[in-house]
Symmetry: C2
Subunit: 107 residues, 2 copies
Amino acid sequence: MKKPTKTQYEARAEVLKAMAHPSRLLIVDELAKGERCVCELTEMIGADVSTVSKHLSLLKNAGIVMDEKRGTQVFYTLRVPCVVNFFSCVEAVLKERARIYLSAVAG
Amino acid sequence: MKKPTKTQYEARAEVLKAMAHPSRLLIVDELAKGERCVCELTEMIGADVSTVSKHLSLLKNAGIVMDEKRGTQVFYTLRVPCVVNFFSCVEAVLKERARIYLSAVAG
DNA sequence: TTCATTCTTGGCAGTTTAGCCAAATAGCCA
DNA sequence: TGGCTATTTGGCTAAACTGCCAAGAATGAA
């Protein structure tokens, strides 16, 4: 990887943006355990089905998940499981942020 | 890590959202090589200084970078270097996406 | 066919984000 | 102090995002 172009950064940003939403992170986290239908995810998230469906289609367009229709249900799975690894680093950032906050309070 | 709460997913999303922008990805990529002042980053990005400054302050609030003022210049560094590791997985997603696209074209 | 279920799509209102310019702030030097 | 450079902040507009409801499409059962 030499020097990514502007377009490459845009493509990368698109992938990250697809994950940068609480409900979509919950979806990814849940799919890491195995396939789930839209109805199951909808119940977990507690939003309108149409909202969840749009989140899923966004993740699908980003290339992160894939879907498979079986009967009236649609099951989603992670297409690129490595995205789950983001969490540990994100947690590290959050810990760091807590540290900053505490040291600011302590003066 | 048992079962992240809604608030935890929101915090995580905030971190990812901070990275989900082409210019901010470029910044992270560049800071991975070492500290840079605002002026250097501004030249690389090719946007108004004020715009770059806002991107940096966003990354800083997210806990991803930190700044140090020396003279009239402000130098930024990665506070949590592991974010650089996101790229390889993001690239995997992009490759997968290209594969989907090609198979769609091929029929 | 008709009905019920599951999911997707269209459309709308409210909120957030991006990027520019202008103005304010901070540090350095004469 | 005054001027110069580097950076941040405020304000504005345009664009993008979110979530709901309503409507449409697909499947299976009666």
